[in-house]
């Protein structure tokens, strides 16, 4: 399992993040992103995942993040600050399964080895 800090993610472009995630997940690693992905990055990750699905090799990803917060603060809106992504867990679809998820907690089951 790899825990990637928000600081490292901030320095990466969207494409670099997506490539890093997919490369790790395709080799069976679980990735935890401290500050998550933006909604656009999430959808691009799903799109890229679809292009890399191969029969008997890679069936896709399991990705879990919390729903966005309701609204940014008054000052966020005034200064045009976007709401930051929230912690996100990503893993191979055949190894990670979500047990339960709500606004505040994500419970997953991870299978290790064959």
């Amino acid at each position: 399992m790899d825990l990637i800090s928000g600081e490292k993610l901030e320095k990466m472009t969207s494409m670099e993040k997506i490539r890093l995630i997919l490369d790790k997940v395709k080799t069976g690693r679980i990735v935890v992103l401290e500050s998550g992905l933006t909604p656009d990055e999430e959808v691009r990750l799903i799109e890229m995942t679809m292009t890399e699905i191969r029969v008997d090799e890679f069936s896709g990803i399991e990705i879990e993040s919390y729903p966005s917060k309701k609204e940014g603060s008054f000052f966020d809106k005034i200064f045009g600050r976007s709401i930051k992504g929230r912690m996100t867990v990503i893993g191979p679809a055949n190894q990670i399964r979500t047990i339960e998820k709500d606004k505040y907690q994500i419970s997953t089951k991870v299978s290790v080895g064959d």
């Binding site: 933006t38 909604p39 656009d40 999430e42 959808v43 799903i46 799109e47 995942t49 679809m50 292009t51 699905i53 029969v55 069936s59 896709g60 990803i61 399991e62 990705i63 879990e64 993040s65 919390y66 729903p67 966005s68 309701k70 609204e71 976007s82 679809a93 055949n94 998820k101 709500d102 606004k103």
Partner: protein
Amino acid sequence: MGFISSFKDSLGAWIKSIFKKKRAKIGIYGPPNAGKTTLAKRIVHDWSGDDDFGNVSHIPHETRRAMRKEGVVINANGSSIELDIVDTPGMATKIDFKEFMAFGLSEAESKKRAKEATEGVIEAIKWLDDLDGVLLVMDSTEDPYTQVNVTVIGNMEARKLPLLIVANKMDLPNASPARIKAAFPQHAMVQISALEGSNIDDLYKAIAINFG
């Protein structure tokens, strides 16, 4: 000259806004088997009389190509709105052909369906860039906190486009629209059965309010 030209453009836009019907391109999104095509078929049938829009199946990813029906005029809530309805393939983060074999498809059929389903997901994502709003269909009997729901809602919020949640399958005994409302309280929600047509007028009113 510039002022006169600008004035004429503004006047033209103002006249159009009064006399032209409101028009919006609306995508129907959701996970596989949430009832997107059933809903699209009902809307198209109710407002254009066309009974030949899309196929429905209990096997996931039946819709693997987006389908568009143009010029569907909905009259509700005292106003009229013309919609281009785009029924999109089910969004997913994983597609395993073996899941289709469990529904009785052969291995070859399942692999073909899986390949087409991946292309369908990409197509659904591409359509997000070309819409004025989204009807996000959720199965009321299922956990609403799926990544597809979270991702579609996050994208519509980021793009500041209108979103209406459709809590579908209210005809089933274990339907729980309250769970959906609790998960995404910041968005308008209508609870319906697309299959039986129950509460469908409430949906049309909500479409007129949210997309009109």
